[in-house]
Amino acid sequence: MTSAVRTLRRSVPVALGLATLIVAIALLELLIRIGWVNRFIVPLPSQILASFERVVVEEGIPERFLLTLREAFSAFVLLTVFGVGIGVLLHRVRILRLATETWVAAFASAPTVLMYPLFLVIFGRSANTIIMMGFVAGLAPVILKTVEGLAGTRRVLINVGKSFKLTPWQLYWKILFPAALPSIFVGIKLGMIFALINIVGVEFLINFGGLGQLINELAERYDLAGTYAAICFVILVSVLFFILTERLERWLRPAN
């Protein structure tokens, strides 16, 4: 296969994805214009597009975007360090795992965002509250998927390690951990989805800081086009984290 054909094959899905998005937006525009969708509830995509410049210049999008990005990154670091760390601990200490696994699973579905008043009391009306809310919301899936990945390592790979007389530390670092990486990254991606929802949600609720606060303000002003434009930036944060985790995973485990 020539490199041109290979490039073409790789770019077709990307082009198809973009084309689908453009067609969906155009369809929405059409439905609103012919009155099938109420334009007082859903603004015209063309209006949203037109409002981007205004929102960026007048509403301080770059600063807010960076603040939300920083909060999300802090939550990501905390999630990775503590989520994977606790997962490793639960995998190693069987009694601890048996005692807590059900609770951690239950915690994963708990609406932690409702705990924000408690976090406000502890951390004040600051970015710390938002980061901690994001961290708490995303912790359970990272722990659960880390434990699942480590426990699911094929017995024969562990036996290979034992046959080469690996120390317990080497067995973890050289075999269990790389074998569990795909599952751990599923956990981190899931955790980041919950974390980002909570970060923007708490910014919205406590009217502080980044994109969530801006969405709150624009919605209060009934600036629908601006609100949706700001939401697009939240999606951009999400996309950036998805790319970051994908890159990180590919760097740590190139065979994927």
Binding site: L157, V160, K162, S163, F164, K165, I175, A179, L181, A255
Partner: protein
């Protein structure tokens, strides 16, 4: 063709005298606790392997072959008896014994070269030195040109060759293989048998092969130890007096056919017993459920 050596009931030692043997398995018995009581998987098995020898252990499913493999490799403990390598009693995994497993055991996150270099990395060898050495073993198993590939890009037979190269790279005194080609088709199995023979001759590698495949055992071995169905005991030892160097072409020779027939004769009784036992257990479980 030399006659097979039938063993008396209490005689279960196999092979050369312990003094010149590199591996001595002395009266090993391994029991497992099951809900129905203790199950003896391996019963008073003794064998010796001389340096450079190729010994195959053959038996029907459920005769304790894999248990014996795991006991010798040090992956199972709490057994009776003793195992020694070059005169030294060993317990637990030992650097002198290199294991090749039945299941696919390459590390999917490592390239072929990194897989093969794994034991050298664990031993703390410098990067350039270990890659040079790993390349030699990749070449030995005939996978040169695939060094940068990942296991997912290789066929089952190629992956097993990577596992074998990885174990050989640790330069074990004894290569212990548990049905390494069981999951492969017959043609690939025969051709890989050629590769194993070539490597074994080249390195003068002492090898202990666990298998249920008679053709494979006769094609590769100097001696074949036939085991009984549960509990696994030594039933008979057969010296394979076929000329070396051998290749897979030997399977069409008359002498080869005679060895296969002779071993099948020994195995048929054991395999039938295993089959009857399986049927009775399935029936019993069905009655229990009903």
């Amino acid at each position: 063709m030399p006659a097979a050596t039938p063993l008396k009931r209490d005689q279960s030692a196999a092979g050369s005298s312990p003094a010149d043997a590199i591996l001595v398995v002395d009266r090993v018995t391994k029991r497992f606790d099951t809900p129905d009581g203790a199950l003896t998987a391996v019963d008073n098995v003794s064998l010796t392997v001389a340096p450079g020898e190729f010994l195959a252990v053959i038996g029907p499913s459920g005769c304790g072959k894999s248990t014996l493999f795991n006991v010798i490799g040090g992956l199972l403990d709490n057994y009776e008896g003793q195992i020694s390598v070059a005169g030294e009693t060993v317990s637990g995994p030992h650097r002198s014994i290199g294991m090749v497993f039945q299941e696919e055991s390459t590390f999917p996150w490592r390239t072929v070269l990194d897989n093969v270099a794994f034991p050298l990395e664990i031993a703390g060898m410098a990067k350039s030195e270990r890659y040079t050495k790993a390349r030699h073993f990749v070449e030995l198993v005939g996978l040169d040109g695939f060094e940068r590939r990942y296991p997912a890009e290789l066929s089952g037979g190629m992956r097993q060759r990577v596992s074998m190269a990885r174990t050989l790279a640790s330069e074990p005194k004894i290569l212990l293989m548990d049905e390494p080609f069981a999951a492969l088709d017959e043609q690939t199995r025969l051709l890989l048998g050629d590769k194993v023979l070539q490597i074994q001759q080249e390195l003068q590698q002492t090898t202990l092969l666990i298998t249920h495949n008679i053709t494979e055992a006769v094609q590769l071995s100097d001696r074949i130890l036939v085991m009984t169905y549960r509990p696994g005991k030594v039933k008979r030892i057969v010296d394979i007096d076929l000329p070396r160097p051998r290749s897979s072409e030997i399977v069409s020779s008359e002498a080869f056919g005679r060895y296969v027939a002779q071993i099948w004769n020994d195995l048929r009784e054991e395999a039938s017993r295993g089959m009857r036992d399986d049927e009775s257990r399935t029936r019993h479980a069905g009655e229990k459920q009903a």
